[in-house]
């Protein structure tokens, strides 16, 4: 039962020339959101841009008494709508529909949680990390970015007690290369009898590689996919992901309803 709120911008914190965190007053969404869920945001008046855009719920914001007060979005500027989210000003209102979609499965100890994030794919992991750490799950964030300036919120995760594995493409922080490399090393090294749950969000290639690695080492893996979404509500069938069928064919499921979180194994990766 999603709600549509005309959410006031509480604060807009730029993180870099392309990334920002937008805090929105939306108590009803904040109260209902589970880690991995998303909202559909209309960042413009008028009909151009026309459609809403999907954003993961980044943080659930709470007042001093701990009551949900709003959500924040981790935004990367790539086109017209994300540019508007980037330059939104406090006091403006932005239509925000949610929470939507199937969230992550939050494991319990003794399972360990390994979150794999590429770039803005970090977005769902702040909320997931909080939920995991609240259950005292040992949690690691594998976080890959292009360069050190595009690594955000590291202290936030550290303060939660989340272990960090960092890679950057240019080697300016952590290990140089893609984040799947340390993930594979750690998977290979880990005792098969320990429970480990892998979560991933980021570019399609990274998701596929993560799902493949998890499968190789027989670990459960949930990935949050990004498809172009017309409605976010199951109405338009635009957001489909091809899933393996038992007969060896593929079946298109709507990632806004069956996902965005899907089992990595079930997806028919190209």
């Amino acid at each position: 039962m999603p709600v549509d709120v005309s959410a006031e911008v509480i604060a807009n914190t730029p993180l870099s020339g392309h990334y920002n965190v937008l805090a929105l007053a939306a108590p009803a969404i904040a109260a209902a959101a589970a880690p991995g869920q998303f909202v559909m945001v209309k960042a413009s008046r008028g009909h151009d841009p026309l459609l809403r855009r999907p954003f993961s719920v980044f943080e659930v914001l709470r007042d001093r008494r701990g009551l949900p007060l709003g959500i924040s979005l981790l935004n990367k500027r790539v086109g017209p709508s994300t540019s508007r989210v980037y330059s939104a000003k406090a006091g403006e209102t932005i239509a925000c529909l949610g929470p939507l979609g199937r969230p992550f499965t939050v494991v319990e100890p003794p399972a360990d949680a390994w979150m794999v994030a590429g770039g803005v794919g970090l977005a769902p992991f702040a909320a997931l990390a909080e939920a995991l750490r609240a259950r005292e799950v040992r949690t690691t964030l594998f976080y890959g970015a292009r360069r050190s300036e595009e690594l955000f919120y590291l202290d936030f995760f550290r303060n939660l007690g989340v272990a960090l594995e960092i890679t950057t493409e240019d080697g300016s922080a952590g290990e140089q290369g893609r984040i799947v490399r340390p993930l594979e090393r750690r998977l290979a090294a880990r005792d098969p009898d320990d429970e480990v749950m892998v979560y991933a969000c980021g570019p399609e290639g990274m998701l596929a590689a993560t799902a493949r690695a998890a499968r190789t080492y027989d670990r459960p893996c949930e990935v949050s996919v990004e498809r172009i979404m017309g409605c976010g509500m199951g109405g338009c069938y635009s957001c489909v992901v091809p899933m393996r069928t038992r007969s060896g064919g593929v079946h298109h499921v709507r990632s806004c309803l069956a996902g965005p979180v899907l089992r990595g194994d079930d997806i028919s990766w190209e």
Binding site: H47, L50, G230, G234, G235, C236, Y237, V240, H251
Partner: protein
């Protein structure tokens, strides 16, 4: 305020219908809005069997519009009847089923199954989908094709029958006439405009099917013109659509000659649009001293304002 609309044996509570392909099978919205408050729910186009549709990407946004080529992914009419009709009935939705086919026989067979199903309110015959190779638009772009498929379905069903016309023709009014002649109870128009977007960086089409159908506010002025033309050509009711996003847009179609309207793309932007549209229409009717929406249908005063013209 009387918002009811009568089309053949069907009574709609109000003129606002969720457009086919833009509202899933209706059940997706059942927990979000009260389906019984809508005039009707036109469910996603159904063939006899299941279809997987086209590969993603299936949509791309355009200025004030969107292009889609879903490829009519669907569960087939039998699964629809078994899996979703019970819930739609329980929710007291007025169900209009959008019927597809690749042959006349398939249209007939799907329609026959629906005629035997309790709770189906009407059949909307989709002879205008621009996104599939076989069937559909090949009927919708030929006057005899239109006549033949409507006529064939007419013989197997007493359900109200609304052929849905394509705007991709020179003279849409002649297609409305063909549908009327073949026994249609109303015509729905417009389906989407055949269109294309290219990703200039890759020099490839932006959607997998190369071409797709344009919908949304961008097309509204063309759709309104077509409703106006059809209003002058046929006597049966018209169900108008194309870019409706506000109460004034719905009223515009009604004034142009539509008895009811459908809303597609705008429902993606705002799933709570229905109450807003009805509120806006109520306010308009109050301001204009109207008590029945029927009194507004086709009231366009189209006398060209030639006063100052000296061509």
């Amino acid at each position: 305020m009387d918002f009811s609309v009568h089309i053949g044996s069907l009574t709609l509570k109000n003129p606002l219908i969720a457009a086919s392909g833009c509202f899933g099978y209706g059940v997706e919205y059942a927990d979000t809005i009260d389906l019984s408050t809508l005039g009707g729910v036109a469910v996603k186009g159904l063939f006899l069997s299941e279809r997987e549709g086209h590969a993603a990407p299936r949509i791309v946004e355009t200025p004030a519009g969107m292009l889609n080529a879903i490829g009519l992914q669907g569960i087939g009419v039998r699964r629809f009847v078994d899996e979703h009709m019970p819930e739609l009935r329980a929710r007291r939705a007025t169900v209009i089923v959008n019927v597809c086919g690749t042959t006349i026989d398939e249209y007939v067979e799907v329609s026959r199954i629906l005629s035997d199903t309790e709770g189906v309110g009407a059949i909307e015959l989709n002879i205008s989908c621009p996104n599939i190779k076989e069937g559909g638009i090949q009927f919708g772009c030929s006057l005899t094709g239109t006549f033949d498929v409507v006529n064939a379905v007419r013989h197997v069903t007493t359900l109200p029958l609304f052929p849905k016309l394509t705007p991709n023709v020179t003279d849409v009014a002649s297609f409305a006439r063909a549908a009327e002649d073949a026994g249609a109870d109303a015509v729905s128009l417009v389906n989407t405009f055949l269109a294309m977007v290219i990703d200039v960086e890759t020099r490839r089409p932006s959607i997998s099917n190369v071409v797709g159908g344009l919908s949304g506010p961008a097309i509204r002025p063309i759709a309104v013109r077509m409703v106006h033309e059809c209003r002058q050509a046929v006597k049966i009711p018209i169900i108008g659509m194309g870019g409706i996003a506000e109460a004034r847009d719905a009223l515009e179609f009604i004034i142009a000659g539509a008895s009811a309207v459908q809303v597609g793309t705008a429902n993606f932007v705002d799933p709570f649009i229905w109450a807003k549209l009805l509120d806006g229409m109520t306010d308009y009717m109050r301001r204009h001293g109207l008590s029945s929406i029927g009194d507004l249908v086709g009231t366009l005063d189209a006398a060209a304002r030639e006063a100052g013209s000296h061509a």
